[in-house]
Symmetry: C2
Subunit: 446 residues, 2 copies
């Protein structure tokens, strides 16, 4: 036998053992259920897009991967396709291409892998799964959807049983209208400076606003006050108005944010906060913006992000398609839970029941018993060989299979089922329903 | 507005509209349920493998795609990674790499995309989803699993409600033992000739066996007789033995195939057939082999394939790891159903209920009603704006949402629910259970 090549993990490409993967599946099921329960439909797009599509907005900083045939002749290079780096560009292309086949407002969810050639580090991968929802309208899109997004994401996060995530919500029109109200000539430059808040602190930002952006001391102070407004209720509007700046766009932003905030009242108070200091740099967004962070890991960055945009797909279709969306960085959040050892320790098998094979003569009967149990909705593995009972039980234990079923060892005998965790054993019938709570329908969620 | 770039479909990369995707999801759910109900655990691997891994068995004919960073410096090419072209090589690498973390027999399912740079044509794609199950043992693996594979696949196929698929089952030891029993000096050459049966016909194959492989006329006739044996019961063994050839390996092959056949009795007769004429060319397999074909589309080729192999991963680990597996070509089969228009015509939304928004004042109450209905397990879309009733109803109709919920239009009024297909409307309560069959739990499967 030739000395085998030892494969190594590939940096930036996560891979899980079966027990961890079972937890990831539970997450994916829950996320999909949340999205569908609000009426979002599933879309999957190819892993690749034409480079013209990926680069339509000049995105050369996304570390795009192209694909090439290994055996391709030099003159036949196929590098006209690249792996998508997010799910928004594919959505824009999808909506443009299938425009006449879709019903608007178009509500889709998409849970797919994306690829970026970034340097791998904690929370950043070269291959990762995003879970996105977006609603796309034609010409206009009701604010209703801006308000629904944080509700869906909050429900999703609560069901994942992760450490607290707080959703920070703002509206881009507020800062833009505020700067217009102050009469700032180059708002983009001011926003760039305000964006450095986390890095250089408020006082340095204030100095730069004065020295580089032509703010008066008083206007700079007001801008800093605005960026510090953070309220769990509607009082942000009062605090804002107290700054004494007025502008039509600012008023519209406040009105929109009040509407969104009014929907948040059904959430636990710590779950969502109006935070006028967030998302200054997301120039793609034009209204509501969302950012979700792990409260206990303030340096980990956002695990949820999204917002309202005016123009999804004008690169691909001559239509005005406004939208709003929110995205969960699944691999980012999940891998953090793996790293912090915060996932439930569980089984490596989805089976509910291991059916014991007492001896070779019983095999056909056992195949039938297993089928009966499956027809009742249980996930059943039949042990493959009439080995010693201790060996069969140990197999169930190693895989974390919670129930072991003993068929009769001889004709006329009784069936019994053993609860592996409690050690208890009781009579049962494979063709009959079990006592209500003896085998939970979905043990994985326990 | 600059003239937009019109994106085009990319040949070989299928993409579905929401209504078709909803059907594909139904398939994926059912397939996963089948696999899990037999105790297989989920594994996902990265989309890429090291080229050393992909090429370990000299697979240069699989049209491998490498990935490269678009902006990579010439000297920094990263083409040491390629997209996987099947799920078997990733499984071999996974088992070798995680060997000490797995419990054997290791039963895994994997439903993932793979990529091949082939010329796209009917049923052949550059990006496609396979659904694989495999059981891997250490040193040895009971024949039980060979027998279980066709049962699982049959159950899976019956649930998909596709036109009839027949599973053809044989055992590679039979032909190998038969040729050894005849004393054929170059069995590989004989198998290559027998492999041409579909192309050149039996009589030409018989001539070549004599002229090129040194068969006597009588031995050639026997080989052709063997390849023609096709029985729905155990009588293949009698027909084989009647050919008067004997060899230890042949006897073992017959015994194994009889064991597998004995499990098939629970299946509808037309579902599985012992067919000694199949899979002569799969040199990877060493025992049981499976091939599933659409009965009504004999030229479409196989949609299911698999078998027993002695050696999964010796390229990566110094262990003997025998296994048996079976794979459904999901994209291949599903796209055929799309093309033949054989999928149920259905909704484009997963929602069960569209909740009418009568007027702006009712909005907060409607948000609450929708939440109540979701908590009862329904998928509920609340209409986003208090538009004309006809418009709201037309939205439900276009998206195929089967029930429309009318909250009271004024205080003290009653809720009503309308069955869109039947047109009937009846009183209901969002906080109470509905009459048993008024909204089916999973309408999509209807």
């Amino acid at each position: 036998m030739a000395s085998p090549y030892r494969p190594r993990p590939i940096s930036g490409y996560p891979e899980w053992t079966p027990a961890i993967r079972l937890q990831e599946l539970r997450w994916l099921d829950h996320i999909r259920h949340c999205f569908e329960s609000y009426g979002f439909c599933s879309v999957e797009t190819p892993s690749v897009e034409e480079l013209e599509v990926l680069l339509a907005k000049g995105e050369t900083d996304k570390e795009i991967y192209t694909i090439n045939r290994l055996q391709a002749d030099a003159g036949q290079s196929e590098a006209r396709l690249g792996l998508h780096y997010d799910l928004t560009v594919p959505l824009a292309r999808y909506v443009a291409q299938h425009f006449n086949e879709l019903t608007f407002p178009f509500k889709r969810y998409q849970m797919q892998r994306s690829w970026r050639g970034e340097r791998p580090q904690e929370g950043r991968f070269r291959e990762f799964t995003q879970c996105d929802i977006d609603v796309i309208g034609v010409d206009q899109l009701p604010l209703h959807f801006d308000a629904e997004m944080p509700l869906i994401m909050a429900e999703l996060l609560m069901g994942l049983k992760v450490p607290p995530v707080r959703l920070h919500i703002s509206n881009r029109k507020i800062l833009a209208g505020f700067l217009a109200g102050l009469g700032i000539s180059d708002p983009a430059a001011a926003i760039r400076v305000l964006d450095k808040m986390d890095k250089i602190g408020a006082s340095k930002v204030g100095e730069l606003l004065v020295s580089e952006c032509g703010f008066s001391q008083s206007d700079a102070a007001k801008a800093l006050q605005l960026a510090a407004i953070k309220t769990s209720d509607a009082s942000f509007a009062k605090e804002l108005r107290a700054l004494g700046v007025s502008h039509e766009l600012l008023a519209l932003g406040i009105e929109e944010l009040l509407f969104v905030q009014s929907y948040l009242q059904s959430l636990p108070e710590a779950m969502a906060v109006i935070d006028l200091g967030i998302a200054r740099g997301f120039d793609y967004y034009t209204g509501t913006v969302y950012e979700g962070r792990l409260v206990d890991y303030p340096d980990f960055g956002s695990v949820v992000a999204g917002g309202r945009y005016d123009d999804l797909a004008s690169s691909f279709i001559a239509k005005k398609l406004p939208g709003v969306g929110i995205s969960l960085g699944l691999t980012r959040l999940f891998s953090k839970m793996v790293k912090e050892n915060l996932l439930p320790q569980g089984a490596s098998s989805p089976a509910d029941i291991l059916l014991i094979l007492p001896n070779e003569e019983q095999r056909p009967a056992c195949v039938t018993y297993a089928q009966q149990l499956r027809q009742r909705g249980f996930k059943v593995e039949m042990y493959h060989a009439p080995q010693k009972l201790a060996k069969q039980l140990s197999y169930a234990e190693k895989k974390g299979i919670p129930y072991v079923w003993f068929p009769p060892f001889e004709a006329g005998g009784a069936h019994e089922v053993k609860n592996m965790q409690q050690g208890s054993q009781q009579p049962a019938d494979p063709a009959d329903w079990l006592p209500a709570n003896s085998v939970p329908a979905n043990r994985v969620s326990a």
